[in-house]
């Protein structure tokens, strides 16, 4: 088939184009023609189709995500906000930290190892492209039931992929989640978070400024990865040999990315780039249109200069390729020699593919013929904006009205059985089988990692300045009340930062939902975003960026709404952090916070087949006072240990604390069933030597205090129930090896 150039398109307006197969609606296709004043070439059609897709354009979510900007608290700490590759916050001492979370759900279902691996690769490049050295990763993961056949198909590969890619990059994995629920069968969620650190002056943005500056592509060569649907266009260029379909899955090479990181950091240190963008979803289409949009608006690219792994790729395929480990930099001509020299030192493929122009069009040629001539903003930023219909689903009121009637433990035997059952439940069991596959030590700055409440990394070896990150979601609560569920997840992540004594600073989010074409799902999404935005405003935490993943559903059944919230915090001296648990006897254990009858949405209720009831209502003022108390307590050295409560309630928290250093505890609880099982938010267990100092803190910050007991012994004693640590450890640690071998 002849090359579809701008000239050909202009001369042949009636040519039928497969816009529908590429996911474009008739009115969108019409709009493209209106923008261009003619029909698009097949390359332009490919670019618009992929850049206007839900994944790239956020067309269904934009109107709601606007709230993060509208309701944003004004803060000097936010150096780069939403809209760039990742947000950047000031953490003091001249350091800026960039962090972001993203999803790679559907590819991980198709090809678990590579889906997870390239998910890590992609988020790391987003951080690198801001000018930062990536310093840590985290992986919140969600799977179908632990004993389901398909979970056994996807889980090992996903874990191996996260580890295989992250370990090879030299990034410590400092935390994550592993959650099992029927809702994720067929729709596993692979969310990946990365943190990077730099000095303020190092921040890089994605803009192509300065006519005459060079557009430079470096990193891996381009192949046919991830083209998927665009082959519809390209298939006409193939003659014989049947369905030689291009792979829809991206395949990553972490060694190439590691070298890319080192090469890029040297380039940044030498101040050789004006703007930079990594190539992720939609590859070159995205990089060129975004860079051009970010700058003055003009760019010219010679597509045939792109170095290829596969010489048979068509221009449309090259534009759509999602080959990994590639970056696109804007470089002033005076710096190009040095740029090339650094790439040569690291044996990184590098090619000048174009230049910034002083026009306002993105022009792409193929062997001298113009195949793309578009206004870049219309591709990258002015995509369709949908105002999808939303309607509160009928289940909400019905399910909220359900009365939870699950039996709570009261006798000694029941208490022991309940604690052991929760300890061994897949959602609460020891995750060493997973986390031992991740390097937590590389770079030598990891202060906290799994199973601590938050991951913590030292960023200055002299001053001991550090940052902490935690991710949380509670799909049970989001299902019952998406507005409150989002607020509660935010509060939990912030509280996880604070238990170590770090101060929460900024927020990222990964919003995993079903189909936006379902008004009920859209309602859940809108409520979640509204809850998160309101929560962030009230807590004074800016949303720095994030990711939306729609269409997580099988047939007509959507996943439970799963907004994953990531909170970043700062600690001035990592040596003073409050550890999660105690290693000596004779300490007093207290519970901070109030316990209500919050059995609905709990792990206990879930294990007994009950998912209804009402979610708790978030009290963010109280959460904030608790956070302040925890930070003040660290500074005043009041706590020997602090561990927050979440899924599994007090039972899980005590289990984790006694097993950490193998020191038991003797606990006395009134209303023991509710105390052990309830999942009321805003609570932390602390171990102290000086109860008076704790009492003073609790009074000052107006947080309830309940004495639980003392540490010591070789059992977890709760009222009359005595659970030997050996038995508790066995129940807690045998679940994962039994399930996954």
């Amino acid at each position: 088939m002849a090359l579809d150039t701008v000239a050909v398109a202009t001369a042949n307006p009636e040519t039928s184009q497969p816009f529908a197969e590429l996911g474009l609606k008739p009115d969108e296709y019409a709009r493209i023609k209106e923008i261009l004043g003619r029909r698009p070439t097949s390359s332009e059609l490919a670019m618009y189709s992929v850049m206007w897709s839900e994944h790239c354009s956020y067309k269904s979510s934009k109107v709601h995500l606007k709230q993060f900007g509208d309701k944003a608290v004004k803060t000097d700490a936010l150096l780069v906000g939403i809209g760039e590759n990742a947000g950047v916050v000031d953490v003091g001492q001249g350091y800026a930290v960039t962090f972001k979370i993203e999803s790679h759900n559907h590819p991980s279902f198709v090809e678990p190892y590579q889906g997870a691996a390239t998910g890590i690769g992609g988020i790391v490049r987003d951080i690198l492209t801001m000018g930062a050295r990536p310093i840590a990763v985290m992986d919140p993961l969600r799977f179908g039931p632990a004993d389901a056949v398909d979970t056994r198909r996807v889980l090992p590969g996903i874990i191996a992929g996260v580890g295989g890619y992250g370990n090879c990059l030299g990034l410590p994995n400092i935390g994550g989640e592993v959650v099992f629920d029927e809702t994720y069968l067929g729709n596993p969620l692979v969310n990946a978070l990365c943190i990077g650190v730099m000095k303020h002056s190092d921040i890089k943005l994605a803009k192509a400024a300065g006519a005459g500056n060079l557009v430079v592509l470096y990193g891996a060569k381009t192949g046919g990865d991830g083209i998927g649907g665009v082959s519809v266009l390209a298939s006409e260029t193939f003659e014989s040999t049947g369905p030689a379909k291009r792979p829809a899955v991206q395949v990553g090479d972490p060694f190439v990315e590691k070298v890319l990181i080192e090469c890029s950091l040297e380039i940044f240190a030498a101040d050789l780039v004006v703007g930079i963008q990594d190539l992720g979803g939609a590859g070159l289409s995205c990089a060129t249109s975004e860079l051009a949009s970010g700058g003055s608006g003009g760019m010219r690219v010679e597509l045939d200069r792109v170095p290829l792994r596969d010489a048979s790729l068509s221009p449309e395929e090259i534009l759509m390729s999602e080959s990994q480990e590639r970056m696109c930099a804007i470089v002033e001509p005076k710096n190009i020699d040095k740029f090339l020299e650094i790439c040569k030192k690291w044996d990184v493929t590098v090619t000048v593919i174009g230049e910034v122009t002083d026009g306002d069009r993105l022009e792409i040629t193929w062997h001298g013929e113009l195949i793309v001539d578009v206004p870049p903003r219309t591709v990258a930023h002015e995509g369709p904006v949908y105002n999808r219909p939303l309607a509160k689903p009928e289940y909400v009121d019905r399910v909220n009205a359900e009365v939870i009637d699950v039996a709570l433990p009261s006798t000694a035997a029941e208490i022991k059985a309940a604690v052991l059952k929760l300890a061994g439940a897949p959602n609460l069991a020891d995750k060493s089988w997973v986390t031992a596959q991740y390097d937590r030590y590389v770079q030598g700055n990891t202060i906290q990692s799994q199973p601590d409440d938050s991951g913590m990394v030292r960023i200055d070896e002299k001053t001991n300045l550090g940052v902490a990150v935690a991710t949380d979601a509670n799909a049970n609560w989001s299902y019952l009340n998406p507005y409150e569920g989002a607020k509660l997840a935010l509060a939990e992540a912030a509280r996880n930062i604070a238990t170590a004594g770090a101060k929460p600073l900024a927020v990222t989010n990964c919003l995993n939902f079903g189909s936006p074409e379902d008004p009920g799902v859209m309602w859940q999404f809108a409520e979640s975003v509204r809850g998160l935005a309101d929560g962030c405003l009230e807590m004074g935490l800016p949303v720095t960026g994030g990711n939306v993943s729609f269409y997580n559903q099988t047939g007509a059944v959507a996943i439970l709404p799963t907004p994953v919230i990531g909170v970043l915090g700062v600690i001035d001296d990592v040596r003073t952090r409050t550890p999660m648990s105690f290693d000596k006897a004779g300490l007093e254990l207290y519970l901070l916070g109030d316990t209500e009858n919050d059995i609905a949405g709990s792990e206990w209720a879930y294990l007994h087949g009950q998912r209804g009831g009402k979610a708790p209502i978030a009290d963010l003022q109280r959460e904030m006072r608790l956070i302040d108390l925890l930070v003040a307590g660290r500074i005043d050295k009041v706590f020997v240990a602090a561990h927050d409560l979440s899924q599994g309630g007090l039972s899980a928290t005590l289990t984790e604390m006694v097993l950490r250093h193998n020191v038991g505890a003797t606990i006395n609880l009134e209303n023991v069933g509710q105390m052990l099982i309830s999942e009321s938010p805003g609570r932390v267990v602390v171990a102290v030597e000086n109860a008076k100092a704790l009492g003073a803190l609790a009074s000052k910050f107006k947080i309830s205090l309940t004495k639980l007991g003392v540490t010591g012994g070789d059992a977890l004693q709760i009222n009359d129930a005595s659970i030997p640590l050996t038995e508790l450890r066995k129940a807690h640690t045998e679940t994962f090896p039994k399930l996954f071998g």
């Binding site: 090879c168 060694f255 991740y438 030590y441």
Partner: protein, 222 residues
């Protein structure tokens, strides 16, 4: 006292090894794989990581780097040389040490705090320890299973050239629980676990790893 730390493409724990060298009281010197120049260092460390992505075999390509020619010469002349993890793999591929490291027997990458017993304290890198001393040092690799033929194993045992063994369950299938070995002369040591990650209880399980780095200072003074 200068200790060179080599960086190959894909090396990961070079900065950590340098930190450990500095913490021990020596001065770390960065050595680039393409430069056949040891810059006057008194000892060399080949650090951990995934040099060349573990393509072909771990360490198989790194062993032919220009810097390696100089290192092999110097080691043959008695210069202390420590290979950690991937570095150990390079030393075996370069035939400075016998045997080879292969895939962990359970096929997973394994990162955990490993108890070791130090059995040979006469080498350049282990003199700070006492014979039979138990230490805890992070182990983190996918290809840490030490394999060799029976005659080699017998020789290593007979000559006391196993410098450290895993205590407890065999984490990776290594023959005779071998965690580290030395050459005949005692200047070249290969160690699978990562002492550079155990120099400070703030960031590692213990500070037991520091002993490897302080040992070489004594060796260089002699």
């Amino acid at each position: 006292m200068k200790v060179g730390v080599v960086t190959f493409p894909g090396t990961l724990d070079d900065r950590d090894a340098a930190r450990a060298v500095d913490a021990a009281g020596a001065t770390s010197v960065a050595l680039w794989h393409k430069e056949a120049d040891l810059k006057g260092v008194d000892a060399v460390i080949l650090p951990g990581g995934f040099s060349y992505g573990d393509y072909l075999r771990c360490g198989a390509i790194s062993r032919f780097a220009p810097v390696m020619e100089k290192i092999i010469d110097a080691a043959n002349g008695g210069m202390p040389l420590l290979g950690i993890c991937n570095g150990f793999q390079v030393l075996c591929e370069a035939h400075l040490l016998p045997g080879a490291l292969t895939r962990n027997h359970e096929l997973h990458f394994l990162c955990h705090d490993q108890r070791l017993v130090i059995e040979n304290t006469s080498t350049a890198w282990t003199s700070s320890f006492t014979k039979g001393q138990e230490v805890v040092i992070p182990l983190k690799n996918g290809e840490g299973s030490f394999q060799c033929d029976d005659p080699t194993l017998a020789m290593l045992e007979a000559e006391g050239r196993i410098i450290a063994r895993y205590v407890g369950e065999n984490p990776n299938g290594s023959r005779n629980l071998i965690a580290g070995i030395t050459n005949e002369r005692g200047n070249v040591v290969g160690l699978m676990p990562h002492p550079e990650h155990a120099i400070n209880p703030l960031t590692g399980p213990t500070a037991d790893g520091l002993g490897f780095f302080t040992s070489v200072l004594k060796a260089m003074v002699k």
